[in-house]
Symmetry: C2
Subunit: 356 residues, 2 copies
C-alpha cells in the first residue's frame, strides 16, 4: 500500500473507532441524565480523557485484522474501542496510584474534580481526595465497559469468548505489573534492569501490544500459530517501545513527545536508564539530585550528562534495538503471511527510528 | 418450607456459592503464581475480603430463582457469586474513597498493605498510599471478574445477555450513588432526607437487592411483569434496609451488628437520622459534638439523646417500616407466584424485626 492510501485507511479506521466510542459515550450520557447532572459531568470527564489519544491500540487491532483477511471493519472498531477503554481505565487508576493530577499538560479526572472541589471551597487535602474519589469511580466505569464493548460487539460466540479471554489476560497482567511498580517505587534500593523490564511488560506491553494484535488475529479467524507469533512480536515490540519511551522521557524533544524531559528526573522515575546508571561511578556523583521535585535545568543537565557518560543512554538504546530486532525476527517466520509482515514492519521501524 | 429444611437449603446454597468462588480464586492464584509470589498474595488478600460475608446477594438470587421454578443450582450459584464479587469490588473501592483501613474490626486490603509497608520501613503517609494503591488494583480485579463469572456461567446466550444488562445497571447505579455520596460528604450543609435516600438507593440498594432478585428471576425465565415487580420490591426493601442499617449504626447492639455504635457519630456520617435531626432544636444544642473523631461515650450519649428527643429515631424507624410495607404490598400483587411470596416475605419481616 502506498503512502496516501495508507493515510486514508488510517483515517477511516480511526473514524470508525471514534464513532464506536462516540456512540458508547452518548448512550452513557443519556442513561446518566436520569440519575442527575453531576453524573453526566463525570461521564463527560471520562469521555474527555478517552478522546484525543493516538488510538494506538485500535490501530494494532486493525493492522492484524485486515492483514489477516478480516473485512468486518465495524467489528474490529468495536474490539479496538474496547482496548482503548481499557487503556483509559488503567491510566485513570494509574494516576490515582501515582497521585498525578495532570496528564499531558491538562488536568486529568483527579485534577478536574480537585479543581472543582477547590472552587466549591474545599481545602487542599480534601479537594485532592475528592478528585481522587471521582477518578476511582470513573476508572471503574471505564473498566467495566471495556468488557461490555466486546461482549456487545455482535461477533460469534466462540470468537467473543476468545476475545474476552485476551482482554482478561491483558487486565490480569496489567494489575500484576501495576502492583510490581508500586513495590519497586517503594523499595529502598534501585531495582535491577530485568525487574523493570518485567514490570513494564506486564503493566503496559501486554494490554497495549500483545492483546490488541492477538485480538485482531482472533477476530480474523487466524491460525493459533499466527496468534501465538503475534503475541511474541507484540511482547518484544512492547518492551522495545517502553524502553524508548523511558529514554525519550529524559532525552526526547518535548515538541515531539508532548512530555517535558525534566519530569521523570524530578519524580525520580526508576527506568532502565537509572537501573543501569546505578552501577556506574558517573551516576554516584550526581545521584543525590535525582528525584528532587525542585530540580533545576542545570542539575537536570548534570544528570543527563552522567547517564550519557556512564553509558546508560547507549545501553538503553541498544536494548531497545535488541528487542525491536527480536520482534522483527518473529515476523520473518514462514507462517507469517506477507501482508501481515508488510503491515507490522513499519511499527517496528517507527520504534527504531525514535532511538539514534 | 419448615424451619430445619429451610436451614438445610440455605446451607447448601451457601456452599454452592462458596464453591464457585473457591474455584475462581484457586484458578486466579494458580495464574498469578506465574507472575510472582506478591501477586498471589494480592489475590489471597482479595479472597480474604470476599469470603466470610453473609452471602446476602447470592441468597436473594437463589430466593427469586428457586421460587420461580429454577432448578439449575449451579447456574444460580455462578450468578450469585458474580454479585458477591461485584460487592467486594465496590466495598474495596469504597474503602479507598472513605480512607478506611479497617472493616468489621479487621484490616481491609488497604490496611493489610499499609501495615506491610510499615513493616518494610515506609513512613505513615507513604505506607497509607501503598495500602490504597493495592486496594485500587484489587478492586479492579474483582470488578472485572464479576462480569467474567456471569459471562462464563454457561447459560444460554439471551439469558447471559440479560444478566449482564442487570449487572451493568447495578454497576452504573452504584457509581452514580458513590459520586453523590462523595458530593454530599463534601457539601457544607447537611443534605435533605430525600437526597440521602436517593444516594443510598443508587449506591447500595440496586446492586444489593434489585439486581440479585431480578437476576434470579431472569435466570428462571420469569415473565417481564414478575421481573419488574421484583425490581420494585427490591428497591423498596433495599431502601428500608439502608435506613435500618443507619439506625443500628447509632442505636444497634454491637454484638448483633458487628459494628460499634460510636463510629458513625465520630465520623459525622450523614444519614437519614441526621438529615431529620438537623431541623430539630434538640440537635442544634449538641451538633458541635457530631463528627468529632475523639468523641467520648458520654457525649455520644448526648447525641443519641438528641436524636431520640427530637424524634429523629422514631422518624427513621417509621420511614423504614413505610418502605418495608410498600415492598410487602408489591408481593401481594396477583401476578406474584405464591412460592415467591413465601420466599420473600421473611426477608421483609427480618428487616422490620430490626426496628422497634
Amino acid at each position: 500500500m502506498d503512502g496516501p492510501d495508507r493515510l486514508l485507511t488510517a483515517t477511516k479506521r480511526r473514524e470508525l473507532v471514534d464513532a464506536v466510542l462516540g456512540r458508547f459515550f452518548s448512550l452513557a450520557r443519556t442513561r446518566a441524565a436520569a440519575l442527575g447532572p453531576d453524573y453526566v459531568e463525570l461521564w463527560e470527564a471520562l469521555e474527555a480523557n478517552t478522546v484525543g489519544g493516538k488510538r494506538f491500540r485500535p490501530r494494532l487491532v486493525f493492522s492484524a485484522y485486515t492483514a489477516l483477511g478480516g473485512c468486518d471493519d465495524e467489528a474490529a472498531a468495536n474490539v479496538g474501542a474496547a482496548f482503548e477503554l481499557l487503556h483509559t481505565a488503567l491510566i485513570v487508576h494509574d494516576d490515582v496510584i501515582d497521585r498525578d493530577f495532570v496528564r499531558r499538560g491538562s488536568p486529568n479526572i483527579s485534577g478536574t474534580y480537585r479543581d472543582r472541589a477547590v472552587r466549591r471551597g474545599a481545602s487542599g487535602a480534601d479537594a485532592e481526595h475528592q478528585g481522587i474519589s471521582a477518578a476511582v469511580i470513573a476508572g471503574d466505569l471505564a473498566l467495566f465497559n471495556a468488557y461490555r464493548l466486546i461482549d456487545r460487539s455482535g461477533v460469534a460466540d466462540d470468537v467473543r469468548s476468545a476475545l474476552l479471554d485476551l482482554l482478561d489476560e491483558a487486565m490480569f497482567a496489567s494489575a500484576a505489573g501495576e502492583l510490581i511498580d508500586v513495590d519497586l517505587a517503594g523499595a529502598p534500593e534501585v531495582p535491577k534492569v530485568d525487574d523493570i523490564l518485567w514490570m513494564e511488560r506486564l503493566k503496559t506491553a501486554v494490554y497495549s501490544f500483545e492483546g490488541p494484535l492477538q485480538a485482531g488475529a482472533v477476530l480474523a479467524g487466524a491460525a493459533p500459530t499466527v496468534v501465538a507469533a503475534l503475541g511474541e512480536f507484540g511482547r518484544e515490540m512492547g518492551i522495545a517501545y517502553q524502553i524508548v519511551d523511558d529514554v525519550l522521557g529524559v532525552f526526547g524533544a518535548e515538541e515531539e513527545t508532548g512530555k517535558t524531559t525534566i519530569g521523570d528526573l524530578r519524580e525520580g522515575k526508576r527506568t532502565v536508564l537509572i537501573a543501569y546508571a546505578d552501577s556506574t561511578p558517573q551516576w554516584g556523583a550526581v545521584a543525590h539530585l535525582f528525584g528532587d521535585p525542585e530540580l533545576c535545568e542545570e542539575d537536570a543537565g548534570r544528570l543527563r550528562g552522567a547517564l550519557i557518560d556512564g553509558g546508560a543512554r547507549e545501553f538503553a538504546e541498544g536494548l531497545a534495538r535488541y528487542y525491536a530486532n527480536r520482534a522483527l525476527a518473529r515476523l520473518a517466520e514462514p507462517h507469517i503471511p506477507t501482508a501481515l509482515r508488510a503491515e507490522l514492519h513499519p511499527i517496528a521501524d517507527a520504534v527504531l527510528s525514535r532511538v539514534r
